[in-house]
């Protein structure tokens, strides 16, 4: 026996004689690849591990590390703030406009990054999809979860800045996670739908660039809802992202601002973004589960 073979024999799993103790497992049919896999535990283990690794990788290898992830929305905020205040002028009439705008930009950045990265996530991990067996939904979900980790860190700093801006804390601050949870639901639903669609129709990428821009301006991020009138206001209010930003403004920076229910001209219109959110997320999940088994071959 060679030295290497002796070494092999020293491994617990490989020791000679381990064979006798090895029970013969039952013959079971092979389940093909799927979105969710067969073990919930393994799904979460993989999801958490991948997300944490990606999070660390993204901020480990730049000299400023995590500072960048915070600096980007803050710089963006600074520029927009200066322009909007100077040119559009409505900054002055909105209570705590600056902190509102800052939080909004932090929140939207999560949505934007998650959906953009999610779009190409399956071709981006092609080697993994074609050569490893694991629940395929982990890929888009880990992108969203990595984004959530960044978002959480950004929001902690963001809330400190909100205090520095001089906003009076209220008990409604504790409701912030509710709005964030809604945002995560919409972002992840859209992302999963995009990820599965992109494999089948590459045109989705072009379409999404346009749609994402429309969503940015069609959501009360830069402006308060009060400045929008008529039919356009109804369109903005039907947007599944709008309730997130309306509630964050009301709960954090301006308790007198309308909630998404109060802003809606009728109760019916207040239900529309909720229904749209559920519809998008459910469609995304359904479509991904349907497409997942064949994704390896179609890439």
């Amino acid at each position: 026996m060679s030295g290497l073979a002796q070494e092999a024999a020293q491994l617990p799993g490989l020791a000679p004689g381990a064979g006798q103790a090895r029970p013969v497992p039952e013959l079971r049919p092979v389940d093909g690849p799927s979105a969710l896999g067969t073990s919930t535990r393994r799904f979460w283990n993989l999801l958490w591990l991948t997300s944490l690794t990606d999070f660390r990788l993204r901020y480990l290898h730049t000299s400023l590390g995590y500072v960048w992830t915070l600096l980007r929305p803050l710089l963006f905020f600074g520029i927009i703030f200066l322009f909007i205040r100077q040119i559009l002028g409505f900054g002055d009439q909105v209570k705590n406009y600056a902190p509102m705008l800052m939080l909004n930009i932090i929140l939207f950045q999560y949505f934007q990054e998650t959906t953009n990265q999610g779009l190409r996530c399956l071709p981006g991990r092609e080697a993994l999809v074609r050569k490893m067996r694991f629940p395929r939904l982990v890929i888009p979900l880990s992108i969203s979860l990595t984004g959530v980790l960044t978002l959480t860190a950004n929001l902690v700093v963001g809330m400190v800045l909100v205090l520095i801006f001089g906003v009076e804390p209220t008990w409604t601050w504790v409701l912030l996670p509710l709005a964030v949870a809604w945002l995560i639901l919409v972002a992840t639903g859209v992302e999963v739908l995009l990820a599965a669609s992109f494999v089948r129709f590459r045109d989705v990428a072009q379409g999404w660039t346009v749609l994402a821009r429309i969503l940015f301006y069609g959501t009360p991020i830069l402006y308060p809802i009060e400045v929008v009138d008529g039919a356009l206001r109804n369109v903005v209010l039907a947007n599944p992202l709008s309730p997130v930003f309306l509630q964050v403004r009301k709960w954090i920076t301006d308790p007198a601002a309308p909630s998404f229910v109060e802003a809606a001209p009728s109760a019916l219109l207040a239900v529309v973004p909720i229904l749209l959110t559920i519809a998008v997320s459910a469609t995304g999940l359904w479509f991904f589960i349907r497409e997942a088994p064949g994704v390896g071959e179609s890439l």
Partner: protein, 348 residues
Amino acid sequence: MGVVGPNGAGKSTLLKLIAGIYNFERGTIRVAGRVAPLIELGVGFRPDLPAPDNILLNGVMMGLTPAEARRRTDEILDFAELRDHVSLKLKNYSSGMRGRLGFSVMIHVDADILLIDEILSVGDKAFRQKCGDVISQLRRNGQTVVLVSHEMGSITRHCDRAMLLQNHRVKILGDAEAVANRYHELHAIRQIEMFDGPLDEDYRAPATITELATPGADRSLEPGEPLVIEATVEVGQPLTDPGVRLIVHDMSGRPLYVTPFEPLAEGWPTEVGSTYRVRAKIQNRLAAGAYRLSCRVAEQLEEADREPLRSPAKWLQFAVEGESDLISVVDLHSEVEVKPLEAGIAVK
């Protein structure tokens, strides 16, 4: 279990189907126990992270819990001989180091069935040797290894059974050596096709070695015991000046000794259908170990106005077993004489 076949036959696809990586529309696949696929070394590795993080990630992908993967990190590193490079990022590893790490993770995940695609042909010699030793150990432990390879040496050495895939179908399934032989035959036919264009369904080889055996069917020799071979040759096409040739190879297929061509005809008929009996005795100057012998018929054309016809080779495996003083693979029978000389040493 070996899986062999030409490129595009469906070998890797078969592994991916068993592993549950590809979807199938019809039929069922049943496996007993946990499967660990190693379709490509280092799939899923993150180049920007050092080995321990990659072991965790890869281990969990192969089915370990994070706690199990962490507990085994040291063992995996030791086996891969990478303990001294723990803090190095994987992008700074050589391909051999990455390969060792990937292989080490795979054999530490407690899989019942290991699916290995071509990896034994990568890495350095020591690593290939190590993979081979581990596979033998896994076999002894009752674990199943499904091995895809183009090296018939690996197949006959590691496999009890094998299948030959061609055009997505199982051509033959059975004894590893028989399968390896058939593969060599097909390979030879493909080489002929490369020169002469596609062959018909009713293609007949220029000649066929219908039988290749050692008398008494004992394939193991004492050191020094001559290798006696008997073969039957059937002529399949009109041949000009055909001859038979035997080659002794090492297990990786490299020729160690080639016999001179022995003419088949010399006055005898070489019409289609005529058969010949070949008997050969080859001096055994080989060290203990496993070897392969191939036999084929080919034309000896003086004027090369066309490619000489060659029959597919038939293969046979044999072993030299027992104590011998030989420290090299072959004994070339040298005579070295040393004599004192006034101003130096002469070697004759």
